[in-house]
């Protein structure tokens, strides 16, 4: 390390102020864009993984002709007979399409508002009157559902249209706390028999069955056994969900990256071009340096220090701006890439998720490309003959 060379590199950057500024600006914006996307995808993934362990260990669904259909309630007894299965709970849930607003609600049924839920309800539902819930048939809705219903003049009550065309009027008791917006935005929670009525389902059929396994190590074996027992079933284990989570966001940020490669390559071309197109002044500068006795290596080193300064400053500033943009401003515009088309957009805060791996990844995706772009032009500049350029 020669600190005179670093000093020289920095002053030569300043001498070409506009040019360096332009490079730093473009590089910073590229890094900013890339890190914002990765940060958003990271924190959404983090959000998913926070709740992963609370999800059912095994879900058994029935497929008929390749489609999901309702499963017979009688299968529970057979499932319970499998060794290691602690409990099997039938679930009823599904989607309700609210035509007027063009949105899908997810309706989830629970075993009536029982006393056992009281404690957890107090944690997740806004000022709930539990006894009131218990007595009247009413539902708890997500904030998004509540908003959509209000927009359509349903205040505190909603008419579901049953399959036979009749209306079913259900009271809205309360909404979920906004901390759970990402999970609860489109969810409607109500007693099971009401869900059955709204969906027009058969009494001895359920949507799927959830199993609890005493020993998590046994999950794959039990899943295999269920598959043998009911070949028409689709068995989803907790680890499948984890894989699904991981895949979807890797895929999304991967898609973005595939696009990013193009812009990175364009940037590469710009830097390459800028580094090889020398003004006569710069040529003279190199000529004088070489006449003063600088070796090719010295000129190259100075060029690399320049590149290091440019890329390091851009990297730090880009990542810092991205952190601010994503976690303080909540990533306006860019967040929509991950949210998709929906009229039921949740209002949510991206949880802070930041690790060294992402920093590493950002580093590898940006700085080596920049350095690679300047290697050959700098070498060409450095290896010019003194007499040739000073002429």
């Amino acid at each position: 390390m020669n600190h005179f060379l670093i000093g020289f590199a920095i002053s030569s950057l300043f001498r070409r102020g506009a040019k360096s500024f332009f490079t730093i600006f473009i590089f910073t914006s590229l890094i900013f864009l890339l890190s914002s996307i990765l940060f958003i995808s990271n924190s959404i993934k983090e959000e998913l993984f926070i709740t992963l362990k609370s999800l059912p260990q095994i879900t058994v669904q029935k497929l008929q002709a390749g489609r999901h259909t309702n499963i017979e309630i009688s299968k529970i007894d057979k499932l319970l007979k499998l060794n290691g299965v602690q409990s099997a709970i039938p679930r009823i849930w599904g989607y309700y399409y609210f035509e007027k607003a063009g949105v899908n609600f997810s309706i989830v049924g629970i075993d009536s508002f029982d006393k056992q839920y009281k404690k957890s309800f107090e944690a997740i539902v806004k000022d709930v009157d539990f006894d009131e819930l218990y007595k009247n048939n009413s539902m708890i809705v997500g904030e998004g559902v509540d908003k959509v219903l209000r927009e359509n003049y349903y205040q505190g009550v909603f008419n579901f249209i049953k399959p036979d065309g009749e209306l079913k009027k259900i009271k809205i008791a309360s909404t979920f706390k906004s901390a759970t917006a990402l999970e609860s935005n489109d969810i409607i929670l109500m007693p099971k028999d009401l869900v059955l009525e709204i969906f027009g389902m058969n009494k001895n059929e359920v949507t799927d069955i959830v199993l609890e396994i005493a020993n998590p190590e046994e999950i794959p074996t039990i899943a295999k056994k269920i598959k043998n027992l009911f070949p028409d079933s689709k068995v989803i284990t907790n680890s499948d969900l984890r894989v699904s989570y991981q895949n979807i966001f890797d895929y999304k940020s991967g898609m973005f990256l595939a696009l990013f490669i193009i812009s990175a390559f364009t940037f590469f071309m710009i830097v390459y071009d800028k580094a090889s197109g020398l003004s006569s002044e710069e040529k003279r500068e190199i000529g004088i340096l070489k006449a003063l006795g600088w070796k090719i290596d010295d000129v190259l080193k100075a060029k690399f220090y320049e590149a290091f300064v440019v890329s390091f400053i851009s990297f730090l500033v880009g990542v810092m701006l991205a952190l601010f943009f994503v976690y303080t401003l909540q990533a306006p515009l860019l967040k929509d890439i991950f949210i998709g088309y929906s009229r039921l957009k949740p209002v949510f805060d991206l949880p802070f998720a930041f690790d060294f791996q992402t920093l590493f990844l950002l580093f590898f995706l940006t700085i080596p490309i920049y350095i690679a772009a300047i290697i050959i032009p700098s070498w060409r500049v450095a290896s010019m003959n003194a007499d040739e350029v000073m002429r």
């Binding site: 894989v243 490669i261 190259l300 590898f364």
Partner: protein, 320 residues
């Protein structure tokens, strides 16, 4: 095949390496064929300039390859969450038949490129540039190895299969398995530990004696024996589990990333020993500092791995 950001990053870098290394390869062939330091022709002059370009490219590749190796292990660790049955990088690496070879090539290339740079630095200090032909011949071999590595790496990531169940470290690194690793489990513990410390003692001895050839040989042996003893014996103390022999798991957070420290010290220690000895054999005026560097880092490595069993013994009063 996956399309995770990490893999895309590795692909991009691999392609950049490949393009630049091919440039360097072509120039190297020209240099090996036509280099003549006494000539004053135009050709020799341009070759001298190009030699600098090649050196720059190789430095670039090596400097990136070091952190990239760690990043590769990081990535394999992350993918292990998606591949059924894999708990750490071991499962991912071994889910592909040539996964282990990829690793071997990666380490080998790190050594070769590192040595190349050490040789280059030495060469630049010599006004006759007497190693130039040698170093470019070495690069021609290194290029082939690099291409093999990159080819392996790309086919490695593209043939990873989410649907396949792999066996992970628990079964791979155990006596009962039929993998190629199980052979080494026939070595009894006391033999490997005695060999390990014996070799280390020899290493210390030779480093004070300052003889290059034995020091070189002992460093190579020390590297291999260290890895074996780490898998067979010291690893179990890091995990505090007599059956867990994985050389990757201690790279994870649960073990405070101690693996990176271990591998880095071991690499610096043996690398400086090996490359220093070779360089000194080539030229007698090479500085003897490398004996010290090698000794310090190797001793550091030995100190860390030794600390684990001892601390375990002090805490629990028994050996595993």
């Amino acid at each position: 095949m996956f399309l995770t950001p990490e893999i895309i990053a590795i692909y991009i870098l691999d392609i950049i390496f490949l393009v630049f290394a091919s440039f360097a390869f072509i120039i190297s062939i020209m240099i090996v064929k036509k280099w003549d330091i006494n000539s004053t022709s135009e050709l020799q002059y341009s070759l001298e300039k190009r030699a600098i370009l090649v050196a720059t490219i190789i430095k670039y590749i090596f400097i990136l390859k070091l952190p990239l190796f760690i990043f590769f292990v990081f990535t394999a660790d992350k993918i292990s969450g998606v591949i059924t049955g894999a708990m750490c990088a071991a499962g991912v690496v071994n889910s592909i038949s040539f996964g282990l070879w990829l690793f071997v090539f990666k380490i080998l290339n790190l050594f070769i490129f590192g040595f190349w740079i050490a040789l280059h630095v030495k060469d630049m200090q010599d006004e006759k540039l007497s190693f130039t032909k040698l170093k470019f011949s070495i690069f021609i071999v290194a290029f082939v190895l690099l291409v093999v590595e990159i080819f392996y790496e790309i086919s490695f990531f593209s043939s990873l299969d989410v649907d396949k169940i792999v066996s992970c470290c628990g079964t791979l690194f155990s006596v009962a398995s039929s993998s190629s690793f199980s052979l080494i489990f026939n070595i009894p513990n006391n033999v490997i530990i005695t060999t390990f410390y014996l070799i280390f003692a020899l290493l210390v001895f030779f480093s004070f004696l300052k003889k290059e050839l034995p020091f070189l040989v002992i460093n190579v042996i020390f590297f291999i024996v260290s890895l074996l003893s780490l898998i067979l014996f010291f690893g179990t103390y890091i995990y505090e589990l007599p059956t867990h022999h994985c050389p990757y798991c201690f790279l994870q957070r649960e073990y405070y990333y101690v693996g990176y420290l271990l591998y880095i010290t071991l690499f610096i220690g043996t690398f400086s020993g090996i490359s220093g000895s070779i360089l000194r054999m080539l030229r007698a005026d090479y500085k003897k500092i490398f004996y010290k560097t090698s000794l310090i880092f190797n001793s550091l490595y030995v100190a860390i791995v030794t600390a684990y069993p001892i601390i375990f013994y002090i805490k629990n009063g028994v050996w595993l």
